[in-house]
């Protein structure tokens, strides 16, 4: 399929959905109609060429389908929908830009994060249920259930387009950022099967984060989120080797990092940090920026990274942040100080089965020259790992120390 045409209809889909919902209500039915219009575009555009006004074309196509659907519904149920609303020739008028409202609706607090993600990818990203299912490695029927359930829940909660009050806006935008970050991470963590997918979740998440940043340029956390995504994506080519095995940051070939993405990410985070409240996304982006600017792993400004993690731990405490902070402390102050930071985590029953804790401890023990303990910790981490590439890496480390 022609990538350019697909980009156009995917970019237009939230605008089309917003216009329909604003005119007709019925988010659920409108969303189905937009999906059908996109499928129709996939059939017609490659042979007939891009229409002069793609958005208008999609709105007309979706409106016709929506009116048909509502008419057949109406024949069965009550006649609540006014006949005047059902004239397909009276296509909705575009009023401003509704795509942000659609995103905020998809991230409604009545939905679980998994539902927000699936609905956002479909209603805002314009992906088909099949594409979303393939990206998340679950059956199409399962994804279809998640989407239709999410729409039913929105209807039950009485959620409407544009119902976000000024007081609600920060928390709704926060939910939207979290959903976009989940989408990004899902795409970034996947190493296998990427060639089999016709859509990249990281590209999609970056595209949507760009849109959100364009709508809310003064929101510093949104800028931080976009910067974090760009700075992470910049390392993609270097994070796996020819066999598809994971390459840790320390061993990555930095000549394969995407310098233009790093430059853009650094610019964004440098502009965001002084401009507003400093939140977790900006701090994580600042950490990624320090890594991005180091010519070699040994040149990394570890004291600065340790300080940024200390700030992140204060802003958003959690075991993963503490573990990452320990790595930075080990690099700037030595492994003993870092191992002492991990000891309390090892005593927590909920964390003792987390492979990452043992993997980090293993690296620190190796750094400290405590090889027998390091070998055991790598073995323990491998036992607990549920990612095949990480498990292979940890088993290699354990075996290398044993020799």
């Amino acid at each position: 399929m022609d990538r350019e045409l697909e980009d156009v209809w995917r970019r237009e889909s939230p605008h089309v959905l917003g216009a329909l919902v604003r005119r007709y209500g019925h988010f659920d039915a409108c969303e189905d109609a937009v999906q059908e219009a996109l499928l129709s575009a996939a059939v017609h555009w490659p042979s007939e060429g891009l229409p002069a006004n793609p958005r208008g074309w999609l709105i007309r196509a979706a409106s016709r389908r929506l009116v048909d659907a509502l008419r057949s519904d109406r024949a069965r149920s009550d006649r609540e929908t006014a006949a005047s609303l059902l004239d397909p020739e009276q296509a909705p008028v575009l009023g401003g830009d509704d795509s942000l409202q659609v995103l905020l609706l998809c991230c409604h607090p009545s939905l679980t994060p998994a539902s927000q993600v699936a609905l956002t990818l479909r209603a805002v990203g314009g992906l088909t249920t099949e594409q979303i299912a393939a990206a998340f490695l679950v059956p199409v029927a399962t994804t279809g259930q998640r989407i239709s359930r999410a729409k039913a829940r929105l209807a039950a909660a009485g959620a409407r387009l544009g119902d976000v009050t000024r007081a609600d806006l920060p928390s709704r935008v926060e939910s939207a950022r979290q959903a976009l970050y989940l989408i990004f991470n899902e795409g970034y963590a996947a190493t296998g099967g990427a060639d089999l997918l016709d859509v990249s979740l990281t590209t999609e998440a970056i595209r949507l984060a760009r849109e959100l940043h364009r709508r809310l340029p003064s929101d510093s956390e949104t800028a931080g989120l976009l910067a974090l995504m760009l700075l992470t994506e910049a390392r993609r080519a270097a994070r796996t080797d020819a066999r598809g095995d994971l390459v840790p940051l320390a061993d990555q070939d930095r000549s394969r990092w995407d310098r233009s993405l790093i430059a853009e990410g650094v610019r964004l985070v440098e502009a965001a940090l002084p401009s507003g409240p400093v939140g977790p996304f900006q701090l994580q982006a600042a950490i990624a920026a320090v890594h991005g600017e180091a010519a070699a792993y040994a040149d990394t400004d570890w004291p600065q990274i340790a300080e940024l993690y200390r700030m992140l731990e204060a802003a958003a405490p959690g075991p993963v942040v503490t573990m990452n902070r320990a790595v930075a402390v080990a690099m700037s102050e030595g492994p003993d100080a870092a191992l002492a930071m991990l000891d309390p985590l090892l005593r927590e029953p909920a964390l003792v089965r987390v492979h990452r804790l043992h993997a980090i401890r293993a690296h620190l023990l190796e750094q400290a020259g405590r090889f027998a303990e390091a070998r055991n910790a790598f073995g323990e981490a491998a036992r607990l790992a549920t990612s095949t590439p990480e498990q292979r890496y940890l088993l290699r480390k354990a075996a290398a120390i044993a020799e």
Partner: protein
């Protein structure tokens, strides 16, 4: 995160749902059995509606299985069961949930007297950057 829930059981005679053919379950007061069954059905419906239940299968009597073991350089087929142990694999569910807490909650609710429910994380092909 994906998990497999394995139901280890030995219904007599072999049948599904396994609880109906297990003495410990039959011995429960009728009211309690009905409540447990209703809770299980409610959870299963919820999980298939919200997309957490990816797949599930009930398995045939273990005596109907065929085992393939390597022997003399090639596979040799014999009739099952796999082991003479007290319990056999009676069925499985593949679930996809937000995290370990939810998986534990589901496995807890799938448990019944006289059976062992095993919750195992599935491996996945991705990985986090270190």
């Amino acid at each position: 995160m994906k998990y497999v829930i394995l139901i280890h059981s030995n219904p007599q005679p072999w049948g599904h749902p396994t609880g109906e053919y297990i003495a410990e379950n039959q011995a429960l007061p009728a009211e309690q059995r009905e409540r447990l069954n209703a809770e299980f059905e409610r959870l299963l419906t919820e999980m298939s509606e919200n997309g957490e239940l990816v797949h599930g299968e009930a398995l045939a009597d273990p005596s109907t299985s065929t085992l393939y073991r390597w022997s003399g350089g090639e596979p040799l087929a014999t009739d099952g069961p796999y082991s003479e142990s007290k319990e056999h694999l009676a069925g499985f569910f593949l679930i996809d949930v937000a995290g370990p807490e939810r998986a534990q909650e589901i496995a807890h609710a799938f448990s019944g007297p006289g059976e062992t429910v095993e919750l195992r994380p599935a491996m996945w092909p991705g990985g986090e950057e270190h």
